[in-house]
Symmetry: C2
Subunit: 309 residues, 2 copies
């Protein structure tokens, strides 16, 4: 078994898309990451997070049913769970945030469980860089790989702390606009090169429906997003991608560039399911058979055969 | 030898990008298509087009030096050559048209040369659908493959004629926004299905820097655009893609879906060179060795190895 430590929000989301809207449903980066990673049988995942007394036991039970360790999801009985509400525009590529209530997240002090202080891989989901740093500080053994996800909000509001955590990680996952903002470079090739210099050996640039790029120095790999009939709700797709990526690496215990390519494909595959229904609905019922079938579709989508010297 | 008949503008362009601007330089869909197709040694390409007396002999000589048959580029001595001028925005994905002077193109009556009335492949570059129809009407033998390129302008201004030509072609190349406009469907999968019903057996949807999709019924293939350090000038990239696509098919004489995948990769590869300099500059000096090297980069960019049943 590999141990995967995931830190990230476990939250309520209220989502509106052109196809409908939800009341408060289960959400949060930590949730999506762990649900994606739960598809790898020899990976034991623990989520470090915090929720309020209003968080239903059934959500925690759902995670535990997927063999996810929820013991480090702290419950603050008289606090309220982090809540995000957003409305997607017609193209589903852009959205307005309608509400962000930090609630218990405002004073979140992450506590890494004893038996995950020697985690093999660490996935730092999008959170304040100081929270991400605190998780690394609590480890007793250097993990094989630390993956960081972050977003433009921290570039605008916690630049110095963000630089500190970026220096300490092996992989960063970031979307194209954020990569441009972080580096002031429009070309993603150049942006990746600058980010390498900030610390991470591997850079993953996510382009939503236009796929993802993986960089290691001068090597580049591209994975498309699967063309879908209908994108129903993009919420959680990026976190699902990250969870699939890191879950695959934990499962295979191989962090070579060649294996990271496959990890990107797994991440894209899982994300392609995530967007098919509202919130976590699709991920809750996703089977291994479905994943394998879609990996085959991915292969057909991208493989060609040109003989060259 | 395969015979490729290309109809399309041979023109003057004046281009402004964030990196500089040009005076009137050689441009036009027919020019870019033929320059791209000239990379395939066993393909004989003829351009059907029209220019004015102001069109310099050196431009025609340049095409002839690439073994392109220019005998069907009609010269109207007292007419002026078609002129387009545009300014690209900072992201290079959008542009403003500053001037469009149809000139000799306004009364263009295409004349297919005798020895290309039995062309093996026909590439109908972006022009009025009636001009494209007239080219097909002049053929004496059904070509192995007819490829159509068009744009939103004709959807807005010549809908009925556009439908007629779409019904008669085997392949359509079109960009993502145009596919959506043509079908009123946002999902490109659904859009491709509707376009299939309009006539074309194969649909190629170009997404600029986000690659291209090839559809045949339920089969889909995706080719990324090569991530580049710098896109200098996108003018002609779509036509170069089309020329590389059809040139490869003419060279290999194989119009199976598997071979079309390779054709899409060749088209993307050639287009990735086109944008590196202003206008046709890069295509004029491009060598076979450079093309092969970049095909290898493409292969590395997209290939992964996941064993599945």
């Amino acid at each position: 078994m590999s141990k995967l430590l995931a830190v990230g929000t476990v939250a309520f989301d209220a989502i509106e898309t052109p196809f409908g809207k939800t009341d408060k449903v289960l959400g949060g980066a930590g949730t999506y990451i762990a649900l994606a990673a739960s598809h790898f049988p020899s990976v034991k995942t623990a989520i470090v997070s915090v929720v309020g007394g209003d968080f239903p036991e059934k959500h925690l039970q759902l995670l535990r049913n997927k063999k996810i360790d929820t013991s480090a999801i702290e419950i603050i009985p008289n606090g309220k769970t982090f809540f995000w509400s957003g409305k997607y525009h017609n193209d589903l590529n852009t959205r307005d945030t309608l509400a962000t209530e930090l609630n218990v997240l405002a004073d979140f002090q992450p506590k890494v469980p004893e038996d995950f202080k020697d985690a093999d891989l660490v996935m730092l989901g999008n959170l304040h860089p100081l929270v991400q740093l605190s998780v690394l500080d609590q480890l007793e053994k250097k993990p094989k790989l630390v993956v960081l996800d972050t977003m433009n909000y921290w570039m605008n509001n916690a630049w110095e702390d963000l630089q500190k955590i970026i220096r300490k990680v092996d992989v960063i996952t970031i979307n194209d606009e954020e990569a441009r903002q972080l580096t002031q470079e429009y070309s993603l090739l150049k942006a990746a090169r600058i980010i390498h210099k900030m610390g991470p050996k591997y850079v993953v640039i996510k382009k939503g429906e236009n796929g993802a790029l993986l960089f290691e120095d001068d090597q580049v790999f591209f994975a498309p997003a699967l063309p879908l009939e209908e994108v129903f709700d993009p919420t959680g797709a990026g976190d699902t991608f990250a969870g699939g990526f890191v879950g695959f690496l934990a499962q295979t215990k191989d962090i070579s560039f060649d294996n990271m390519k496959k990890a990107v494909i797994y991440g894209s595959t899982l994300a392609s399911f995530c967007v098919e229904k509202f919130g976590t609905e699709r991920m809750e019922i996703l089977t291994q058979k479905e994943v394998e079938r879609r990996l085959n579709v991915f292969k057909k989508l991208t493989h060609f055969d040109i003989d060259l010297d």
